[in-house]
Symmetry: C2
Subunit: 212 residues, 2 copies
C-alpha cells in the first residue's frame, strides 16, 4: 500500500475492495480501526486470508467487487490496492463506493498506472545488451480490455486514461484530494533493479473524499 | 483551445496567461466577456496581437507570466493555452491565479501532456518504413528542464508529472472539476496524419474552480 497517502484508520469502519490475502485488512486493524470488511472474488484467496487472520475486528466476504451492495453511509474509509484495473466498469465502482461511504469519508486506492497499462506487453523496449531503452506507450486513448501475460497465464486487465479515473470519481460526487505516482523509497532507489523505476511510473494512487 | 472544457464567458472578467497573438482573447470577447486582459512575455507577439485586435474590451500587457501581479479577486475566469510548460514554477502560477480569481471563479488551461513531455526528443520511435511503432517514455519522474528542438531552434520546456499538476492546484486551494486528454474531433480522426493521435495524448486540459 502507499503509506504517504493513507488516511487515519483509528476507530474507523473500513472496507477493503479486492483484499486478496488480507494484508491490508490486518494492517488497518493494527492501526486501530473499529472494524474491517475485506472483499475478494477469489474463494481461494478469501480462504487463505481467513486462515492467516486471528482478529475479531476483521470480516471477509467472497464476492466480485461489482456485486457488493452494503447499505448507504456505512463506512468511514474504503481502500483498494491494485484491484480496479481488473474491473470493467470503474464508473460503477465509484458510484457504489460513494453510496456506502459516510459523509466526510475517504476513498483511497491504487491501480496500475495508465502509462504502464496502455500496451498489453507491459514491458520495456531493450537494446541488444538487454538494457531498457524506454517504456513504450500505445493505444493510450483506446480504453478497453488488455490480455496480458503473467508467468504462464493470460490475465485480463482494463486500461483507462488518467482523465477517466479523475472524471468518473468527480462525476460520482467525490472531491479529489491527492495523487501519487510511484517512486520507490530513497533507501532502495539506489539498488540495481530499482534504478529504472524513476523512468516510468508503475502505479497510480488516488485519495478522494465524500464531502456532501 | 479546448471548447468542451471551456467555462461560460458571458459578462465575465477574463485573464489570458501566455496570450501569444491574442486569438483566445478575441474568442472570449466574442463570447460576450465583459473584458479580457492578455499577458505574454514576447514584445513581438504582444505587438502583433494589438495590431490584430480592434476591440475596446481587450487589453494586452507585455510581461513574464510569473511577474504578473493583479490585485486579489479581480477576475472571474483565468485561461491559458499551452504556456505553463515553458514556466519553471507551476506552483507560483497556481498561487498567483488563485489569489487574483474571485471566489467561485474558474481556471482552465492546457499544457503539453506529461506523456508527451517526458523525453526531450518528443517523437515516435519509427520502424524501417518510417511508421510510428510506439511513443517512448523516459525520465518520467525526473521533473526538470528539457531542451527540445523545434524547427531549427532549441526550446526550453519543463516536464512535470500528472500528480504534480493536480497536487499543486489542490495545494493552492483549487477544486479539481475536469480533465481532458486530447483526441482530435471525430470529423478529422479518420485523416491519414490523424490516425496516430489516439495512440498517445499530446495535450492535457484541466479545469478547476476557486470555491472558498
Amino acid at each position: 500500500m502507499f503509506k504517504t497517502l493513507l488516511p487515519d484508520f483509528k476507530d474507523k469502519k473500513v472496507h477493503d475492495l479486492g483484499c486478496g490475502l488480507g494484508w491490508h485488512c490486518r494492517y488497518v486493524s493494527e492501526q486501530g480501526a473499529h472494524s474491517v470488511i475485506g472483499v475478494d472474488i477469489s474463494e481461494k484467496m478469501i480462504g487463505k486470508a481467513k486462515d492467516m487472520t486471528d482478529d475479531p475486528n476483521i470480516t471477509y466476504l467472497q464476492s466480485p467487487i461489482e456485486d457488493v451492495n452494503f447499505t448507504d453511509q456505512c463506512f468511514d474509509v474504503v481502500i483498494s490496492s491494485l484491484a480496479f484495473h481488473y474491473i470493467e466498469s470503474f464508473d460503477t465502482v465509484c458510484q457504489s463506493v460513494y453510496r456506502c461511504l459516510k459523509t466526510g469519508g475517504t476513498f483511497a486506492f491504487s491501480v496500475e498506472h495508465p502509462i504502464f497499462s496502455s500496451r498489453p506487453e507491459q514491458d520495456w523496449i531493450y537494446d541488444d545488451d538487454s538494457n531498457p531503452l524506454y517504456w513504450p506507450i500505445d493505444y493510450y486513448n483506446i480504453e478497453s480490455k488488455r490480455d496480458t501475460q503473467f508467468l504462464e497465464s493470460t490475465v485480463t486487465k482494463y486500461h483507462r486514461t488518467f482523465s477517466t479515473y479523475i472524471n468518473q470519481l468527480i462525476q460520482a460526487g467525490f472531491t479529489v484530494e491527492s495523487f501519487k505516482e510511484t517512486l520507490p523509497p530513497d533507501e532502495i532507489i539506489g539498488r540495481p533493479k530499482m534504478k529504472d523505476e524513476v523512468r516510468r511510473p508503475m502505479f497510480l494512487m488516488i485519495l478522494v473524499t465524500k464531502n456532501s
